[in-house]
């Protein structure tokens, strides 16, 4: 395979000129597909973010009258201009689904995975470029299907992103969105699963079989390790979700009773189903759902690690441990799903087992955090925008991770289950932290994608609004949760004991709107910079070591020149004693004199 990879005819300048459609739309070039994933996911983020702001509007000012919005969405508001509870629940469902699948999974593995894998391993493209393109187009279909759930009669599903049965299995009888909306939800998730499998198949094959000369596994940048482990996780977790979705479809359309227990009394009559088990859905869903959390966070860890090392001008602290920690986290992620179900009537003994396995994850997570701190320790940090977002990632990962120790302990979780404490925890650790890593990655690789820089000043303003904003939004939620505010609640003022806390809800909502406005700054910066940003005049503007910086900005078709690069060292040779520069690209031959002494 190395021979074919290095074939001179595949060089950057020998490719036939492709037309606009083949080059930018129906492309099989991994970079174009990566950018397509990124932009599509950004569009989904705008939708998902807007939905969350509508939720904050309701939570900050329940019974508020929003005449303007009511005129835009008459079905969602009553004639007094107040939001309908059904609509609020569909916001919860769609916000969760869109953000977990169509933003985070898509942007980190689909976007950065596609863009970076061949570039960082010294290959010309993915192992199966056509399959790769197909994966994107199926992903786009799934985006359209999930979005259409918002538009159909009856509206979007109401049961949350976890689609718990039997609510999800009984159809329209249990709520307007559980009919067509739920069907679209299942279809979108099934399509997404298929697309993800195609992508994962490509990632694993490419990383294992197409590394260039000298690039041993232990010389891979951590981004590549994280993408490889993520792809393996996806491969093992997504088919189980697909299996659950298949059974759910049969329950809804085929009259089966996999998840529907007998004797449910609905709409004045007992429904015909007999014999199923609603908890089965929860087991299958969370067997997928917990690894999914790591499918989101692992690439974020990899990206943040590489960027931190670059801007600290220091090798990543304890590279091997970083790799082993990721492997340990992903292995453990398959035996902790029960911690989502502590209140489901689980045997206390089993609960203890899941508590132990869950708390074990704290060990590799702490190893990683220690290593990030070790990397930053004593460094002369270059505070560029990607560096800021990477540091922000570490901060948010720690803040969100610590509350995971509370929730992973069954005795505490029983008190906090389904409160805003949970909402605070998972937003910080698996939504906002990966979001920060994704921002870090976008600012960092933007020059490689488009040949221009994003505006640094606007980037720094964006960082500070986001960093302060997310803490203002999500930190008070811990207090709300301990105070008893339930997750997915439509109107906190329904409960007298929640009234004293309402001021926090208002504070969170105001902060959320400021945070949202800050993201507009990012979007403007991103799209304006594609055409009007400062041009990048060199291949390696950040003075980084990895292979993608050997190629021009933006990288041409075929990635590398006639010869593929040969790797002589690992990806973290920063500030090597005795070296002429403070970085040594992976392609730099020889070993500097000072390093030989050790």
């Amino acid at each position: 395979m190395t021979e074919t990879q290095g074939h001179p005819h595949e060089g950057a300048h020998d490719h036939p000129q492709l037309g606009f459609w083949r080059k930018y739309v129906f492309s099989t070039d991994h970079k174009v597909i990566g950018i397509q994933y990124l932009v599509t996911a950004m569009a989904m983020a705008i939708i998902g973010g807007t939905l969350s702001l509508l939720m904050r509007l309701q939570l900050g000012w329940p019974h508020g009258k929003f005449a303007f919005l009511a005129s835009l969405m008459p079905h969602a508001f009553n004639n007094k201009g107040e939001m309908n509870p059904d609509f609020y629940l569909s916001l919860v469902t769609m916000h969760g689904t869109i953000m977990v699948f169509f933003l985070f999974t898509a942007v980190l593995t689909g976007g950065f995975g596609n863009f970076l894998i061949p570039l960082q391993i010294g290959a010309r493209d993915m192992a199966f470029p056509f399959l790769n393109a197909l994966s994107y187009w199926i992903f786009l279909c799934s985006c359209i299907v999930i979005f259409s759930a918002l538009l159909v009669a009856g509206g979007a599903p109401l049961g949350g992103w976890t689609a718990y049965a039997p609510l999800s299995a009984l159809g329209e009888a249990v709520g307007p969105g559980q009919g067509t909306g739920m069907t679209l939800w299942i279809t979108a998730i099934a399509l997404f699963t298929v697309s993800g499998l195609m992508g994962g198949l490509n990632y694993i094959t490419t990383i294992l079989t197409m590394r260039t000369k000298g690039l041993s596994m232990m010389r891979l940048p951590l981004t590549q390790w994280s993408l490889l482990i993520t792809a393996i996780l996806g491969l093992l977790a997504f088919p189980v979700l697909l299996a659950a979705a298949i059974l759910l479809v049969f329950d809804r359309a085929g009259g089966t009773s996999f998840f529907i227990p007998g004797g449910i009394y609905l709409g004045g009559k007992v429904i015909e189903h007999t014999g199923g088990h609603p908890l089965l859905w929860q087991h299958l869903f969370w067997f997928f759902g917990h690894p999914e959390v790591y499918i989101v966070i692992l690439p974020a860890m990899g990206i943040a690690s590489d960027i931190l090392s670059t801007f600290c001008r220091k090798p990543i602290f304890s590279y091997k441990m970083m790799v082993y920690a990721m492997v340990a986290i992903s292995g453990l992620s398959f035996i902790v799903w029960g911690h989502h179900m502590f209140v489901s009537g689980m045997s206390p003994f089993l609960g203890s087992v899941f508590t132990i396995t869950t708390l074990l994850i704290a060990v590799p997570s702490a190893v990683k955090t220690f290593n990030w701190l070790g990397t930053v320790w004593g460094a002369r940090i270059q505070f560029t925008v990607p560096a800021l977002f990477s540091i922000g990632f570490v901060s948010l990962f720690v803040s969100g991770g610590l509350s995971g120790i509370f929730l992973g302990t069954s005795a505490v979780d029983i008190q906090l289950q389904d409160t805003y404490f949970v909402v605070a925890h998972f937003h910080l650790v698996m939504a906002i932290a990966p979001l920060f890593a994704a921002y870090a990655g976008l600012y960092y690789w933007f020059p490689k994608m488009f040949g221009r820089f994003m505006n640094g000043t606007a980037g720094k303003i964006h960082f500070w609004i986001s960093f302060v904003g997310v803490y203002c939004v999500f930190f008070p939620m811990h207090i709300l949760g301990i105070g008893g505010q339930m997750r997915r609640i439509y109107d906190p003022l329904n409960y007298q004991f929640l009234e004293p806390q309402q001021v926090l809800n208002v504070f969170i909502s105001v902060s959320a709107f400021v945070l949202g406005a800050g993201q507009i700054l990012f979007l403007v910066n991103f799209f304006v910079s594609i055409w009007a940003g400062r041009r990048v005049m060199e291949n390696n503007p950040w003075k980084a070591t990895t292979l993608e910086w050997e190629t021009p900005c933006p990288t041409g078709h075929g990635n590398f020149g006639p010869e593929l690069p040969t790797v002589h060292r690992w990806a973290f040779d920063y500030s090597v004693p005795g070296a002429a520069n403070d970085f040594m690209p992976q392609t730099a031959p020889g070993v500097p004199a000072a390093a030989k002494q050790h």
């Binding site: 395979m1 190395t2 021979e3 990879q5 391993i121 290959a123 192992a127 199966f128 499998l197 198949l201 694993i204 094959t205 990383i207 079989t209 197409m210 260039t212 000369k213 000298g214 690039l215 041993s216 010389r219 491969l235 093992l236 088919p239 189980v240 697909l242 299996a243 659950a244 298949i246 059974l247 049969f250 085929g254 009259g255 089966t256 009773s257 996999f258 007998g262 007999t274 014999g275 199923g276 088990h277 089965l280 299958l284 067997f287 220091k314 090798p315 590279y319 070790g374 320790w377 004593g378 040969t566 690992w570 973290f572 040779d573 920063y574 500030s575 090597v576 403070d582 390093a595 050790h598």
Partner: protein
């Protein structure tokens, strides 16, 4: 750049950089199996997880008091034999390809394809027999699983038939040689695997 002291360079606590070896031979090219073979194994892993998900649901629901077994038509035994026979035929094809006997390869591939299609036809016949006996998808949990598991397997096997068309195409172009018959190897792996999945489903549905 200002000269850093040794201590500053290392951030005070870092060990000297190490690059974990690696050499010109240490590339993706030295990976022991081919891309297509690896990709097939990855696909099979996903299929294992799909059936593992379905069978874990089976095992959980099997323990409920509402569970009622159905009588599975005897024809499935014959179908099982047919599918095993098709796998055996593939091995004859592989033995022939190693001796560059092009026409023999084609014959055995045809045989395995026809046996595969017969299996699918046999499965449809089994479903029809069940329907005739009044056992539908929603009749009992056991019948639901019977249709879902056999249906999921049949779909995967139908995908295998599509793969066979590609392999046959190569065989007719005399592109399968003793030196290079990768498509046949990959397809045989998939087909044998589907055989194993079937035997697993069969045992699960009949005995468990």
């Amino acid at each position: 750049m200002a000269e850093l002291t040794q201590k500053q360079r290392r951030g005070g606590i870092l060990p000297p950089p190490s690059d974990y070896g690696g050499g010109p031979r240490d590339s993706g090219g030295s990976f022991p199996i081919s891309k297509a073979y690896l990709a097939t194994w990855i696909l099979l892993t996903a299929i294992i997880m799909l059936f593992a998900g379905l069978s874990s649901a089976y095992i959980v629901l099997r323990g409920l008091p509402e569970w009622q077994n159905i009588t599975v038509p005897r024809l499935v035994w014959a179908n099982t034999l047919i599918l095993v026979a098709s796998s055996v035929a593939i091995e004859f094809a592989r033995a022939a390809v190693r001796k560059d006997q092009f026409s023999v390869v084609r014959q055995w591939l045809f045989v395995s394809g026809i046996l595969g299609l017969s299996f699918l036809a046999g499965q449809i016949a089994v479903w029809r027999q069940l329907v005739k006996a009044g056992v539908y998808l929603s009749t009992t949990l056991h019948s639901s699983f019977f249709y879902v598991l056999t249906g999921a397997h049949a779909l995967h096997l139908a995908g295998g038939i599509c793969g066979l068309v590609v392999v046959l195409w190569r065989a007719f172009g005399n592109q399968l040689t003793a030196a290079n018959h990768e498509p046949l190897k990959v397809w045989a792996l998939y087909w044998h695997f589907m055989d194993v999945v079937w035997i697993y489903c069969f045992l699960l549905l009949l005995l468990a």
